[in-house]
């Protein structure tokens, strides 16, 4: 029983990441009609916001410690971060320890800005173009973004640990032990998803955007500058991907190709959820996350060897064959 609950938790956790990325993809697709292959790269850049903040806080000056030697036998240069010398070692260390939560604050404006620049500078010119062209240009952009990150931070993963107090394990009801940060991640994802839905559902801005998603032309004819609102939505979608990334850092160390690893999966999630449906994307994210977790249990892999390798794709095929437009897809969207 414990094992089952644990796997459900794992599934919710994986599902949170899938759902957040898929949500952003669907937002961009639903509002702008653009297939964004660079969305995984946005997720990756979010994660590297944490790396950047961590490096920034760790900016150090060097003092020579003659009692120790470095690998060449010369006196060791000891690095002391500026924040530690400014605020004292304890407070300084705490600030560095909390670099990921600080990065969350840093990430939001950065990602919104990147979203704006991307939409105004590049994507805008591709609204009227074929989906194939959109795929090529966003894929090219994704490669460029990830190569730029690689040039700065290398190809190896870089740890962005959670704050000390949030990095242990928690004992849940029933004696189940689960990492604190993964619980935080799930709650965070739930808040973000809830926030996006509430924004679209209960604000005038959101109402207009939804109207625009349904019929862009008519909303435009009513004298509303729908393009500007869609730009804002692109920024929000980028921020959602970035937040998913920055919070994901402590779970798995960010590396430059993590975006590509998630890209294909998140497309599968979006399509299984049904094109153009936000609730569908979220539901499919959690569904596939949970199924993936269960497929990797020993019981599953001994019953069907290799099931853990293919489960997501297998489920995608079954769902798409039984439900022509995924779980909650709309008719006529990219069919």
């Amino acid at each position: 029983m414990d094992a089952i609950i644990l796997q459900i938790l794992n599934g919710l956790d994986k599902g949170s990441a899938y759902a957040l990325i898929a949500l952003g993809l669907t937002l961009i697709f639903g509002t702008l009609g653009v297939v964004n292959f660079a969305h995984g790269a946005l997720f990756m850049i979010g994660a590297f916001c944490a790396v950047f903040v961590q490096r920034l806080l760790n900016l150090s000056f060097e003092t020579v410690d003659p009692s120790k030697t470095d690998f060449l036998g010369q006196p060791l240069k000891v690095k002391t971060p500026y924040v530690e010398s400014w605020f004292g070692p304890d407070v300084g260390a705490t600030i560095i320890d909390w670099s990921v939560p600080l990065a969350v604050l840093f990430c939001i404006p950065v990602m919104v800005l990147i979203g704006f620049v991307m939409e105004r500078g590049l994507i805008k010119h591709f609204y009227k173009r074929e989906h194939a062209d959109q795929i090529l240009v966003t894929f090219g952009l994704a490669i460029v973004l990830q190569e730029v990150i690689k040039a700065f931070y290398g190809a190896n993963p870089i740890q962005t640990p959670a704050p000390e107090t949030l990095s242990g394990v928690a004992t849940l009801a029933g004696g189940i032990v689960y990492p604190v940060w993964r619980i935080v991640y799930f709650c965070f994802a739930a808040v973000i998803i809830g926030g996006v839905f509430a924004f679209l559902q209960f604000t005038t801005f959101g109402m207009v955007v939804r109207a625009g998603m349904a019929d862009r032309e008519t909303v435009g004819l009513l004298g509303i500058n729908i393009d500007r609102r869609f730009t804002v939505m692109f920024g929000i979608a980028a921020a959602v991907a970035g937040l998913a990334g920055v919070m994901y850092g402590p779970i798995n160390a960010p590396n430059y190709h993590m975006g590509m690893d998630f890209l294909v999966l998140s497309f599968v999630v979006v399509v299984v959820g049904g094109m153009g449906s936000l609730p569908g994307a979220v539901a499919a994210g959690f569904l596939l996350g949970i199924l993936e977790s269960f497929a990797s249990t020993t019981w599953a892999t001994t019953t069907i060897p290799g099931i853990n390798q293919i489960i997501i794709y297998l489920v995608a095929i079954i769902i798409l064959l039984t439900r022509p437009r995924g779980l909650l897809g709309k008719k006529g969207v990219m069919e």
Binding site: L6, A155, S293
Partner: protein
């Protein structure tokens, strides 16, 4: 199009001036004027350095390239000579190889067997490389080794740890300096027994491809011989990024040791996840829960950050070794690049030197002559103590390091400490050992 026409005309013109176009048969041909593939005729000889430059192992590839460039510099008499001064064979003069200046070409394996072979082929066909070396995974090493055998050039493997490279997929033209899964197991087992006792229950997570399997087989065999019990072995997909669903079942499995047969990004993530789930602080069966990572590298240890502390594993070489050869290598590498070399850098530097030395001793670049010079070659002074290049399978036998993640690192490079240097005799196995059986070296192929 205009450019093409121009070239055509240029070709015809220069052909007319030269008097005649001379047709020569070339590499990959049955009948040839040359004695062997890419016989160097001018004043220089070209080596092909085929390393991952894109993809997850790009940083290791970059470190290998640095070591290659250093080796070439030393062979041509530049720099401080590095390990050429400590190498037991004194054949190398610092004037290139056999008096020919060493030049090199580089390529990108992308850590894919296909791309690696394409890259190696281009070095052989286009650049006239006489030897191919490099790589950072066993799949690539085996694929390129096969190609070199067919093309008739020597392959000096880089970082490849699978038993198969010198086991069932061994080739007459291929040589490996790096250690392998069996040696990891044989070196680790006694240390594990000493540290954690002989009554342990081990849970294996294994990367689901050939390297993972041979590694797991080796470690399980070595630890079972100590009296450990293997509770479970779970195969994880190569593409997995989040290992939580594989780690969670470990909690209630009754196991008290987790063995992670992973490398690279897989290893960083599975170790991070294992620590996240509190395995390091857990007690099972009245013992501390322990994690073992059989194949360690400092670059990966750096990726794993804090999580590596106290974790035991094995490695081919580490820069903190205090013998003269290691110190000389660290000094010349560190002076040139500003940080200490990784084990991948060390093994490829050694391979380059060993190849050059073999050519020098054989007096020829002919792959068959070079292979003969390497087979059964005993040497010292390359950082691993006395070493034998065994003739039967072209595997180096040398001391293996058992290392542990350092608790209080003094710098960002100071991540591992050497727990034990396991002597070569203890990790030596018979050439027909069942884990290595099934292949044949074949005969050396000089190509032409």
């Amino acid at each position: 199009m205009s450019k093409t026409n121009l070239t055509r005309r240029g070709v015809l013109k220069s052909g007319a001036v030269a008097g005649a176009g001379v047709a020569l048969p070339t590499i990959f041909t049955a009948s040839s004027a040359a004695a062997y593939t890419n016989e160097p005729t001018g004043g220089s000889v070209t080596l092909g350095f085929n390393v991952p430059q894109t993809g997850p192992y790009a940083d290791e590839g970059a470190d290998e390239l640095r070591a290659y460039e250093l080796a070439v510099e030393h062979l041509n008499g530049g720099g401080d000579g590095g390990m050429m001064n400590t190498f037991s064979s004194n054949a190398l003069q610092g004037n290139g190889i056999l008096g020919k200046k060493v030049e090199f070409v580089t390529g990108d394996t992308q850590t894919k067997s296909d791309a690696a072979r394409a890259s190696a082929k281009s070095m052989i066909e286009k650049d006239g490389a006489i030897m191919i070396t490099g790589g950072s995974s066993s799949g690539v090493a085996i694929a390129v080794q096969g190609l070199c055998q067919e093309a008739g050039v020597i392959f000096m493997a880089g970082l490849t740890h699978s038993n198969d490279t010198t086991g069932k997929d061994k080739k007459a033209n291929g040589f490996r300096h790096f250690f392998n899964g069996y040696m990891s197991g044989a070196a680790l087992a006694p240390v594990l027994k000493q540290l954690y006792g002989d009554d342990r229950k081990a849970y294996h997570l294994t990367a689901d491809y050939t390297w993972g399997w041979t590694q797991q087989e080796s470690i399980a065999a070595a630890t079972e011989a100590l009296g450990w019990e293997t509770v479970n072995n779970v195969l994880t997909p190569l593409a997995a990024t989040d290992f939580s669903s594989y780690i969670a079942p470990v909690l209630n499995s009754g196991a008290d040791v987790l063995v992670l047969n992973h490398y690279g990004g897989n290893m960083v993530n599975s170790l991070t996840n294992a620590v996240q789930f509190g395995l390091r602080n857990k007690e099972v069966n009245g013992k501390n829960f322990e994690i073992v990572v059989p194949l360690f590298s400092r670059l990966m240890a750096r990726g794993a950050g804090e999580n590596i502390k106290g974790i035991v594993g094995s490695t081919n070489w580490h820069w903190s070794l205090q013998d003269d050869a290691s110190k000389a290598f660290v000094k010349s590498f560190g002076t040139k690049y500003g940080f200490p070399p990784s084990q991948a850098a060390h093994t490829v530097y050694c391979q380059t030197l060993l190849y050059a030395d073999a050519c020098q001793r054989a007096g020829t670049f002919n792959p068959c002559g070079v292979a003969e010079a390497l087979e059964g070659f005993e040497f010292d002074g390359l950082g691993n103590g006395k070493t034998l290049y065994r003739a039967e399978d072209h595997q180096c036998f040398k001391d293996v390091l058992v290392v542990k993640g350092k608790e209080n690192p003094t710098s960002e490079f100071d991540l591992l400490e050497v727990v034990e240097v396991t002597p070569a005799a203890q990790v030596t196995y018979a050439p027909d050992h069942p884990m290595f059986a099934g292949g044949a070296l074949g005969t050396c192929n000089p190509g032409a």
